[in-house]
């Protein structure tokens, strides 16, 4: 298979895949009502964050239970740029990547020394501590009430072009180019030397070092890249309406991880699948509970229960997630 792949077309292939993703979302959104369009925008946003886990945990083997906190960094970064310094939303998104990447640099310097449960716990503490900074320095970060930011109304040229569009649809259009770009970058990185280096470090640190890879630096770079992505996602997520601690709770980090695991930590397709699952599953369950007239007191807990169970089943039955299962089936067929 790898023999057939011409190396010159790495960029081309990822360009095509990203465009395909873009068109897929657009086409899908045409079938949807505004609410589901906003859910699609949500998926497009969270996908970027899940991809950051695919890189961090999937490719380089470092676990983070605090991606949500890094999203908060991106969110606050962009929201402050817009509300305090009057930057345009678009530029603030781009800058959010750099702000959170810088944050990732510091985090990475600490995290590169840690592994396994140590890293998991430290990032978990971070997930809790970072949002509380907003409350601590209330005058700057506006405390619990947070910073109100949004995508604004669709610009006139667009409505002239495609007709009246809902706020929800507009949010999808804002997010989608960034999602496609993120996918493009992640595909490129994972299919070339950088990604290979990361996976080498994940598989065997000593061998990797002896192959000339600077382990510490590589781990820091992974954190920088993953944080940049998560920060972008956080900025986009914040512009749904608010940047505040309660927008980036600890649960958010765990939800992202769940999406990545259900889909398959190693696979980009898995990340897409997992993100769809965690966003649409609660809606599906709500529909079912309504139809079956399950009382609210149970129904309210069913999404969490289902997603938790799904996570457990995934790790028991196939820790490589949906993507891994698919691969398994394909492999079987070949034999």
């Amino acid at each position: 298979m790898s023999k057939r792949r011409e190396h010159k077309i790495i960029g081309l292939r990822s360009t095509l895949l990203s465009i395909a993703l873009f068109l897929f979302f657009i086409l899908l959104s045409q079938q949807f009502d505004p609410y589901n369009q906003s859910q699609l925008a949500n998926i497009a946003t969270l996908l970027i964050a899940v991809l950051s886990i695919t890189l961090l945990t999937g490719a380089s083997g470092q676990i983070s239970l605090g991606q949500g906190a890094i999203m908060a960094v991106g969110g606050y970064g962009s929201a402050l740029l817009v509300t305090r310094l009057g930057f345009s939303m678009w530029i603030s998104f781009i800058l959010a990547i750099f702000i959170s990447a810088l944050f990732g640099l510091f985090l990475g310097l600490a995290a590169a020394r840690l592994s396994g449960p140590y890293l998991a716990g430290t990032t978990l503490v971070m997930a809790l501590a970072i949002p509380s900074i907003a409350v601590r320095f209330e005058s700057f970060f506006s405390g619990d009430v947070g910073l109100s930011v949004d995508y604004g109304m669709p610009p006139v040229w667009l409505t002239n072009l495609v007709g009246e569009i809902s706020i929800e649809e507009w949010s999808l259009y804002v997010v989608l180019p960034f999602t496609a770009a993120a996918l493009f970058a992640v595909l490129n990185l994972s299919n070339t030397r950088t990604g290979r280096t990361w996976r080498a470090v994940r598989d065997n640190e000593v061998s990797a070092a002896l192959s000339g890879i600077n382990i510490q630096r590589t781990k820091v770079i992974v954190f920088v890249c993953a944080s940049g992505l998560a920060g972008l996602a956080g900025a986009l997520y914040g512009f749904r309406g608010l940047v505040a601690p309660s927008v980036y709770p600890t649960d958010l980090s765990l939800t992202l991880l769940t999406a990545a695991v259900i889909g398959g930590l190693r696979s980009i397709g898995g990340a897409i699948f997992g993100t769809f699952a965690i966003v649409f599953l609660p809606d599906l369950i709500e529909k079912i509970t309504k139809n079956l007239a399950i009382p609210e007191t149970i129904g309210n807990y069913l999404p969490a229960l289902t997603i938790g169970t799904l996570l457990l089943l995934t790790v028991i039955l196939n820790p490589r997630g949906a993507a891994g299962a698919l691969e398994h089936i394909r492999h079987r067929k070949k034999h």
Binding site: I9, S14, A200, A209, L210, S211, G212
Partner: protein, 262 residues
């Protein structure tokens, strides 16, 4: 001295109370195979670990190509032109064979993150792949390219590990027990491969198969309890009473007659 590639002198290491190495000096001339032998726990692996920066030395100097410097960090080894195989196999389990070797080849190209980010590094990839294929061909592993390490037989995985070390055309190759666990025919194949490699680079080798060591090495160093007890050609060294006492044992030891049929 000028022809010496690697020269270690007065290397001492201790772990807590254990003195693993005391004042060990070692010289690897260019284009030669140097054996490092000695009983278990003598400190052979520790010498390797010091050279490759996995263990910190207490004292001692390190000179490569006549230039004295600090003992390198593991990832700096490749920059000097030194590669090492591990006592185990140490392949990257989830990378295919070719990718494993491509990782080893990385140092041939300067990294360019931006190009990779934008998918413009096709040329580099192609170059890496070509080198990796060549290295695999050299060790006789061309057929393995698309396999996963878990699918390889033990000798084949050792082959791949060797290819990964050879792919950057190192000046010095450190081999830690490369023959361990191999069958006789694979050992023979390895011996002839090493003779080929020798034309391009020097080799420092730790091995307990003494016949193998005898066959391939120009000089051997014998370690015992962390001290160098003998240096010279194998046939000289093997008559050294200290070596016999510490390592080879008297007369009909099993290692000596491993090639009954030959």
């Amino acid at each position: 001295m000028s022809s010496s590639l690697l020269s270690i002198s007065k290397l001492s290491v201790s772990f807590g109370g254990v003195k693993a190495l005391t004042d060990v000096s070692l010289d690897v001339p260019k284009n030669s195979v140097v054996g490092l032998i000695g009983p278990n726990g003598a400190g052979k692996t520790t010498v390797f670990n010091c050279i490759s920066g996995l263990v910190k030395s207490d004292s001692g100097t390190f000179a490569f190509e006549g230039v004295e410097r600090e003992f390198p960090k593991p990832h700096e080894l490749v920059d000097l032109g030194i590669t090492r195989t591990l006592q185990g196999v140490g392949l990257f389990n989830e990378l295919s064979v070719i990718q494993n070797v491509m990782v080893g080849a990385d140092k041939n190209y300067k990294p360019n993150f931006m190009k990779e980010l934008f998918g413009l590094s096709g040329k580099v990839e192609a170059g890496l792949k070509q080198r990796a294929e060549e290295a695999l061909a050299w060790v006789g592993g061309s057929a393995l390219i698309d396999s996963k390490p878990s699918e390889l037989s033990y000798p084949d995985s050792k082959r791949v590990a060797l290819a990964r070390a050879l792919v950057i055309n190192p000046k010095l190759l450190l081999l830690d027990e490369p023959a361990a666990g191999l069958g006789q025919d694979d050992i023979d194949a390895l011996a002839s491969l090493i003779k080929q490699i020798k034309r391009r680079c020097s080799i420092l080798i730790v091995e307990h198969h003494v016949d193998f060591v005898r066959e391939i090495s120009d000089t051997v160093n014998v370690l015992n309890f962390g001290k160098l007890i003998a240096t010279g050609h194998y046939d000289e060294v093997k008559r050294d009473p200290a070596v016999i006492e510490a390592y080879l044992g008297h007369t009909d030891n099993p290692g000596e007659n491993s090639k009954l049929g030959a």
